[in-house]
């Protein structure tokens, strides 16, 4: 056997080149478009865009709704986490499961659901109007308040999960020492627990803020119809505005604002988590004890359940109701129920049937491609001692941290022109490319966690027993990583299946996704069909989650 450059090096080079093409090149397009005007290098686009008072208003509004959304999510999520981990409320596991159900519902479907409750002709509004005798709806969910509300309801589970994990890992003895020093429950909470949890809270807040800033679905459904625009919806409009010259330059200039904010947030996160002064995760101490709340525990349990009903059960009920109503505006009694809407979307409407098929194809394809690609990248990242592997990992994780609207624009700019005679724009393939680019990092994270658990000596023992690299993969590595691969597949399938933000920018007639279909139906004044599609989507997602849990023995999934 002659010595040469090891095959690992070639694979790594290929991976990094490939990633550069699908990630760096599109992002570069945004930067270069933002800094051109009429085809030449210029600051004019930025000047016009950033200087336009309407755009500045959109930025302010983005910050406002995201800021308040984050504030309320953090308060709600932290409070709930404390209740679940630190008090002795009954039926803890049930509460925990119920509180994270919003994860399985796409936010834009949630927004549509809330429209059914608190829209101008929403059920709740009708009920309140009837109860108070008022002629006008008391509260309409359109506008900033509605956006903040729905964002909070869909972001608090993230905070909840992060804070639950942080609280459970906290060293019990820190609080116990406070109790021994005669501090009461309230003092322990405010003087010890909260300050120590501060980094976790900060981390969660940053995550939620980035998420909210990048959200398209909720402000699109609850803001656009009333002209309340945020950055993401403004960019969306700029892109659709084909009649305007330099529209892509303006869109890119706006996208730069979002991009800068996303990168700053990422930066702050990295600095924050590398400081680690508050590392209180110790291996040996017992789990923090739960405090006895006496009769308060029932009140707190009730509070959690009321919250669940308000944030999740109510909108789901509303959307289910709307999906079985004969026509908009009719009272929701059983007399007006029908399955007509379902038979329409599932059997008669070509658009929706196509959308279901497309989403299924996109979900399966992107899940499979990212799992294979992500698995390869993880393998080299975890096993290889080459220094370049971290580069591959980093490039791969960029798209996910970038707001979907920005990524969508980048992909349009990069791939709308034919490459070697082949155009993927206006086909389903550009959507697939967008999904793979966006979700690759999910697969990398999941599979590298799996690979890391397999000690290298298991590979080496196979080599010493005479197995080639390929044989080792097939006989030893892959069987052991299987749960991780399955998890990665589902973890990519589910968001791909329900995705809206990218496909709303990249779709064309015949290539609608479920998200696009639901969105169009809602904007087009057909809430009964939108609701039916929404319910179908939710059912499929719940089933997918159930399958994930079953196949990975509860290790993944909610």
């Amino acid at each position: 056997m002659k010595k040469g450059i090891r095959p690992e090096v070639w694979v790594l080079v290929f991976l990094i080149l490939g990633l550069t093409v699908i990630v760096i090149y599109p992002l570069w397009q945004i930067v270069s478009r933002a800094f051109s005007y009429n085809g030449m290098l210029s600051l004019e686009s930025i000047r016009q865009t950033w200087g336009d008072p309407l755009n500045q208003l959109a930025l302010t509004r983005s910050l406002t709704v995201s800021g308040f959304g984050t504030l309320f999510s953090v308060l709600l999520g932290s409070l709930l986490a404390w209740i679940v981990t630190r008090t002795d409320i009954p039926h803890v596991r049930l509460v925990k499961t119920l509180l994270i159900t919003p994860f399985l519902i796409p936010p834009f479907v949630g927004a549509i659901a809330w429209l059914q409750l608190l829209g101008p002709v929403g059920y709740l509004n009708k009920l309140l109007m009837w109860m108070t005798g008022s002629g006008e709806p008391l509260f309409i969910i359109y506008g900033p308040v509605g956006i903040i509300l729905v964002m909070t309801f869909f972001s608090y589970p993230t905070v909840f999960l992060i804070m639950c994990a942080a609280l459970e890992k906290m060293d019990a003895t820190l609080e116990e020492a406070a109790f021994m020093s005669a501090a009461g429950k309230w003092n322990v909470l405010k003087d010890i627990t909260v300050p120590i949890m501060a980094p976790a809270i900060g981390s969660a807040a940053l995550l939620v803020f980035s998420h909210d800033m990048a959200n398209f679905g909720i402000p699109a459904i609850l803001g656009m119809p009333r002209g309340y625009l945020v950055l993401t919806t403004k960019i969306f409009q700029a892109i659709q505005n084909f009649g305007l010259k330099n529209n892509f330059n303006f869109a890119s200039a706006l996208a730069m604002e979002l991009l800068i904010m996303a990168i700053t947030a990422l930066f702050i996160q990295k600095i924050y988590t590398s400081k680690k002064q508050y590392t209180v995760v110790t291996g040996k101490s017992a789990h923090p004890r739960t405090m006895s709340m006496g009769t308060w525990k029932y009140i707190l349990f009730g509070f959690a359940m009321v919250l669940f009903i308000c944030t999740t059960l109510a909108p789901i009920t509303a959307i289910v109701l709307s999906s079985i109503i004969k026509a908009v505006g009719l009272p929701p009694g059983p007399a007006n129920w029908t399955f007509n809407n379902y038979s329409y979307v599932l059997l008669r409407s070509q658009t929706t049937i196509r959308a279901l098929r497309n989403s299924l194809f996109l979900g399966v394809a992107s899940a499979t491609i990212t799992t294979i690609l992500g698995g390869l990248i993880s393998y080299y990242s975890v096993r290889s001692k080459l220094r370049g592997h971290q580069v591959a990992d980093f490039i791969g994780s960029l798209p996910y941290t970038i707001p979907g609207t920005v990524l969508g624009l980048a992909i349009i700019l990069a791939w709308s022109k034919p490459i070697a005679g082949v155009t993927i724009y206006d086909t389903i393939w550009i959507i697939l490319l967008a999904y793979v680019t966006n979700y690759l990092t999910l697969s990398i994270r999941t599979t590298s966690a799996s690979f890391a658990q397999i000690h290298e000596s298991l590979d080496e023992a196979a080599r010493m027993s005479g197995a080639s690299w390929w044989r080792t993969m097939v006989d030893v590595v892959i069987p052991l990583v299987k749960p991780g691969l399955i998890a990665s597949w589902f973890l990519v399938f589910m968001p791909s299946f329900r995705e809206l933000t990218l496909s709303i920018l990249l779709w064309s007639v015949g290539n609608e996704t479920i998200g696009v279909s639901v969105f169009n139906l809602s904007q087009g004044g057909q809430p009964q069909y939108a609701s039916a599609m929404g319910v179908i989507l939710i059912v499929i997602l719940f089933t997918g989650n159930f399958l994930t849990r079953k196949l990975t023995k509860g290790n993944y999934g909610f």
Binding site: M1, S457, L458, E460, A461, A462, R463, M464, G466, A467
Partner: protein, 348 residues
């Protein structure tokens, strides 16, 4: 021709040299130990022989076949070398039989041959009744036997063992050492054994290679290493040794008279010149005690350990330690005289 030849084997990681110019010839059917503290390069050397690490410089050949050199590198799966890892590396998703039979499966041996070899090797490691069990159902000792059997079943040219018994409890460790040695004799297996435990190395090896920070300190059989340590490090690492300063008073024909600080004049074998400052090594067991009211040496502490008693003796500002039979009658504060049976001398 030596069975295994290692020439100038070197491994560098950036500016750090993990193994420096390692030269060794190993004869067939011998058990050679690489012994030293953590980070001394013993495992790196072993992995270079296995083919899991590519050497920076140097050559490895077994039975005349070059496995690694400047222009050649044979991958590990083609070397026919058996290896037992410190963590055993027993595959969790295969039962005992499939774990051990794997090398035969990979080499596409016939069913008959697989059965024959498996029967023999399962007998050898006494795992006949466990062949359908899964690894998580086995104890640590049993898992280790699985790893051993898997390495032996392919009838390798060399067997490499990387700290195979360090994860076992003391009693089991001793047992396994005897069994490995027994296996070696029965199969006439050439074994390279990595360990940080000097008593293990002494018990099992035909040849010991003592290493420190990538550099070979001494190569020899256990008796040579114990009785004639070449430098202070080896004397310190093997056995229990005190170190005292001394000066060579006179020397002739390979014998010297050394004045040992605090003890007096001692004779020893060395070829150093008069006036040389030296470090004198005295084993704990090579000291005899007797009561001596005028002595400047007092007993600092006495610790009874069941089969022996450890003493710390004070010589002015220095202290030395000694191990005595358990029924000694010396107490803290007693004045004692010492009679040293044997010293080693190292130039400073």
């Amino acid at each position: 021709m030596p069975y295994i030849e290692l020439r100038n084997l070197t491994k560098k990681y950036g500016r750090v040299t993990a193994v420096q110019a390692f030269d060794l010839d190993i004869d067939e059917s011998r058990l050679v130990s690489l012994l030293g503290p953590s980070g001394c390069g013993k495992t790196t050397t072993l992995r270079m022989i296995a083919g899991l690490i590519e050497p920076t410089l140097g050559e490895i050949s077994i039975r005349g076949r070059i496995l690694s050199s400047d222009s050649i590198f044979v991958p590990p799966e083609k070397r026919n070398i058996g290896m037992v890892f410190q963590s055993y590396a027993v595959w969790p998703h295969m039962n005992v039989f499939n774990n051990i039979a794997y090398p035969l499966k990979v080499q596409k041996k016939s069913r008959g041959e697989i059965k024959g070899r498996m029967d023999r090797v399962l007998d050898l490691v006494k795992l006949k009744d466990c062949s359908s069990r899964m690894p998580h159902e086995l104890s640590g000792g049993q898992q280790q036997r699985v790893a051993l059997a898997r390495a032996l079943v392919m009838e390798p040219m060399v067997l490499l063992l990387d700290e195979p018994v360090s994860n076992l409890d003391a009693k089991l460790r001793e047992e396994m050492c005897y069994e490995i040695k027994d296996l070696q004799r029965r199969l006439s297996m050439t074994i390279i054994y990595v360990t940080h435990d000097q008593s293990e190395a002494m018990a099992m090896s035909d040849v010991i290679v003592v290493m420190k920070e990538g550099v070979v300190q001494q190569i020899g059989n256990p008796r040579e290493i114990y009785n004639q340590p070449k430098n202070r490090f080896v004397a310190d690492f093997i056995g229990q040794t005190n170190f005292l300063p001394g000066i060579v008073k006179s020397g002739k024909d390979g014998r010297c008279c050394v004045e040992v600080h605090g003890i007096g004049d001692m004779e020893c074998f060395c070829s150093l010149q008069e006036g040389t400052h030296v470090t004198v090594g005295i084993r704990y067991m090579d000291i005899e005690l007797f009561h001596s009211p005028d002595s400047c040496i007092t007993v600092g502490s006495a610790t009874f350990r069941g089969d022996k008693t450890d003493y710390i003796l004070k010589l002015g500002e220095r202290s030395i330690r000694t191990t005595q039979p358990a029924d000694g009658e010396y107490k803290e504060g007693d004045k004692v005289g010492v009679k040293v049976k044997y010293i080693s001398v190292f130039k400073e």
